[in-house]
């Protein structure tokens, strides 16, 4: 079967411009396949620029070639703290729409009591989580903060080192957006 020969060529040989976006970049799904916003204006970088959508886990090397980024492997798995709604006695105490624990911060700290300067050793990971709870199992919610230590490898012992609870005088305030800013009134370090 015959086919007309090309008369022109379009080549992409420099992928280094990376992701160029507009306000559509606010989408937080890297696998979003929507075409909305893809008919954009001219991109100064030309054909080598990438969209936010469908561009992930790659970068370019100094030659402009497209190469993979480092691979992700799952670390520790952890159920919703403090155990999620599947735990006995907690069926309705975590609001259904907020059945999650949110990471406030995490740091990795060298285990100074391990082998000194051991490049293959493990470190400690401190995480601090926030979640909402209804201690009385009603519409009054409190905000809790929970700190838990993990290790970057080895036997992975867990330690809970911090518990904080916001106490407030206006029950139900958390149900409104006006209470969006969490105030922590009391902190406890739990060992």
């Amino acid at each position: 079967m015959m086919m007309a020969a090309p008369t022109e060529y379009i080549e992409i040989n420099d992928f280094s411009p990376g992701i160029h976006g507009d306000y559509n970049a606010s989408g937080n799904s890297s696998t979003n396949t929507t075409n909305v916003g893809t008919l954009r204006g001219a991109i100064p970088a030309g054909n080598g620029a990438a969209t936010v959508e469908n561009t992930y886990d790659c970068t370019a090397d100094l030659t402009g070639a497209l190469i993979p980024l480092p691979r992700a492997t799952n670390g520790v798995t952890q159920q919703v703290l403090p155990g999620g709604n599947t735990q006995a006695g907690q069926t309705t105490r975590m609001p259904a729409s907020m059945n999650a624990s949110y990471l406030l911060d995490a740091v990795i700290v060298p285990d100074t009591y391990g082998a000194a300067n051991d490049p293959t050793g493990f470190d400690r990971i401190y995480t601090v989580w926030n979640y909402r709870y209804s201690p009385a199992n009603d519409s009054t919610y409190s905000t809790f903060v929970h700190g838990r230590q993990y290790r970057t490898g080895g036997s992975l012992p867990l330690y809970d080192f911090l518990f904080a609870k916001y106490t407030h005088a206006w029950p139900g305030q958390f149900a409104s957006a006006s209470m969006a800013k969490v105030r922590l009134a009391t902190l406890y370090a739990i060992s």
Partner: protein, 487 residues
């Protein structure tokens, strides 16, 4: 100069963000009862057992190690979560069990309530811990809109007394709100003509501390912090209300603003690193509808040549461009940190009943098994219907398994209707290409469209392989006649 604080080496003020300060007290019985009634820990069922667990774990025996484990009462809460304590009644309290002086038992010291300083953005500087203290920017303590008269002070720069290191808890977190309720020598209002929160702090030299405010730029504090020189930096981009943990990188102190990602390397201005992507693209929480989540805007990290920022983005400093990690589906990262093995730990911002990955680990020695890249509409096809006849690729695959490259073309016809996409699939045999090789395929039938976008999906069959490198892709095209529009 390297300074040692609590076992962490601080090179000119590197960040630890953990303050080994100690304050003590007892957990009220009613709180213990509450906790035991509804808090279910996978480690144990009662608080008492938690303590026992810590003391009997074989990994951590002895006083020194126990102290090490619990040396974190002052974890940094950044962003909106920094509002710790009630300044009206000074009811904020820290409790630490076991005691720092006698692990395994309650502390012998008096259970003194400690007013917290609403700290955030901790940094180590001149053997002190320096932090922003949001003592002046609250409207009222309980957020109900009817509380005390609003106060609009600057956030203050607070700092501890110098420390010679871990001296058994002597490196205490300030026990009062600096400059107001406590010892004023530990409080410093910098740039007080800029009434605004502090959005970023960075130590870039042993005698230079950058404070970026929410508006009107920032200030640089130089010299001894007890007798500092303070210079206004109005041309440093403000954070515009964002509070985040920046990262020290070879391109400067990188911090985030609602207008993008910026780097300050000592001049009068901050350089925008993200002109390619406008707006608050790095906000990991932009689609969150539950009002509970008002956590920090993330902790950045510098990992080899990459500046890791929240929402899965990274800035490749070698080629000055932005890229993205796929991460955990639907839950972007907001915190990054590096371990001693130079592995990147990326933390999704939440755990849900269906997302239970606490963190993902990236290793420079293990490359992704698959990736995806998508172009903008090709310049040559914008407003010009083009017939795609063939595709040629130069790729390198070196692996023990086969690899697949799928090229997808999408576009629109002259009526603006999406044309059915076409997929061109290349299969690379195992070990077949140790050097770059040209791949070639005709596109049958020809793909005819305008505003054509190209997507390249690369994957390997064997988990030990890295996805192939794509050197270039080239399309043979012809102009295409169009049909008469229907209207």
């Amino acid at each position: 100069m390297a300074l040692g604080v609590a076992g962490c080496v601080l090179a000119g003020g590197a960040l630890t963000n953990i303050v080994p300060g100690w304050a003590t007290g007892a957990i009220p019985a009613n709180e213990i009862a509450n906790l035991t009634s509804y808090y279910s820990s996978p480690q144990s069922s009662t608080l008492t057992n938690w303590i026992i667990t810590a003391n009997t774990t074989t990994d951590y025996t002895g006083i020194a190690t126990i102290r090490s484990i619990f040396q974190v009462p002052a974890i940094h809460f950044s962003g909106e979560h920094t509002a710790i304590g009630n300044l009206t009644t000074v009811s904020g309290k820290w409790y630490t069990i076991p005691s720092n002086t006698s692990p395994g038992s309650t502390d012998a010291r008096a259970a003194t309530d400690v007013a917290l300083s609403r700290s955030y953005l901790l940094a180590a500087y001149q053997t002190r811990v320096v932090y922003a203290s949001a003592y002046g920017t609250y409207s009222n303590q309980l957020g109900n809109g009817v509380g005390p008269v609003q106060i609009a002070f600057d956030d203050v720069i607070a700092y501890t007394a110098p420390t010679a290191g871990d001296a058994g808890g002597a490196f205490a977190f300030p026990e009062s709100v600096p400059g107001v309720w406590g010892n004023p020598q530990f409080g410093l209002i910098a740039g007080d003509d800029q009434t605004a929160r502090i959005g970023a702090i960075g130590v870039v030299a042993a005698d230079q501390l950058l404070i970026v405010k929410a508006r009107d730029g920032g200030v640089v504090i130089s010299g001894s912090i007890n007798n500092p020189s303070i210079r206004r930096m109005p041309y440093v981009e403000s954070t515009h209300g964002v509070v985040c943990q920046g990262a020290m990188t070879p391109v400067g102190l990188v911090y985030g603003s609602k207008t993008g990602i910026f780097a300050w390397s000592g001049g009068d201005t901050a350089v925008k690193l993200s002109p390619q992507i406008d707006g608050f693209f790095w906000n990991h929480a932009q689609n969150i509808t539950d009002d509970i989540y008002m956590a920090n805007r993330g902790r950045m990290a510098y990992w080899n040549e990459y500046v890791m920022v929240p929402n899965n983005y990274l800035f490749n400093t070698r080629i000055s461009s932005w890229w993205r990690l796929s991460g955990v589906s639907g839950v972007p990262y907001n915190v990054y940190d590096i371990d001693r093995q130079d592995r990147l730990f990326a933390f999704p911002y939440k755990l849900t009943p269906t997302q239970n990955v606490l963190y993902q680990i990236y290793d420079q020695a293990l490359m992704a098994q698959s990736y995806s890249w998508q172009s903008h509409p090709l310049v040559e096809t914008r407003g010009r219907k083009t017939s795609f006849q063939e595709v040629r690729m130069v790729v390198t695959h070196k692996g023990v398994g086969a690899a697949t490259i799928t090229v997808t073309l999408t576009g629109y016809d002259e009526n603006g209707t999406a044309v059915t996409p076409v997929n061109i699939v290349f299969t690379l045999a195992a070990n077949s290409l140790a050097v770059p090789k040209l791949l070639y395929k005709d596109i049958v039938p020809n793909f005819q469209a305008e505003y054509v976008q190209v997507r390249i999906q690369v994957s390997c069959a064997n988990s030990a392989d890295a996805a192939p490198k794509v050197h270039s892709i080239k399309f043979g095209t012809r102009d295409s006649a169009r049909t008469i529009r229907s209207s």
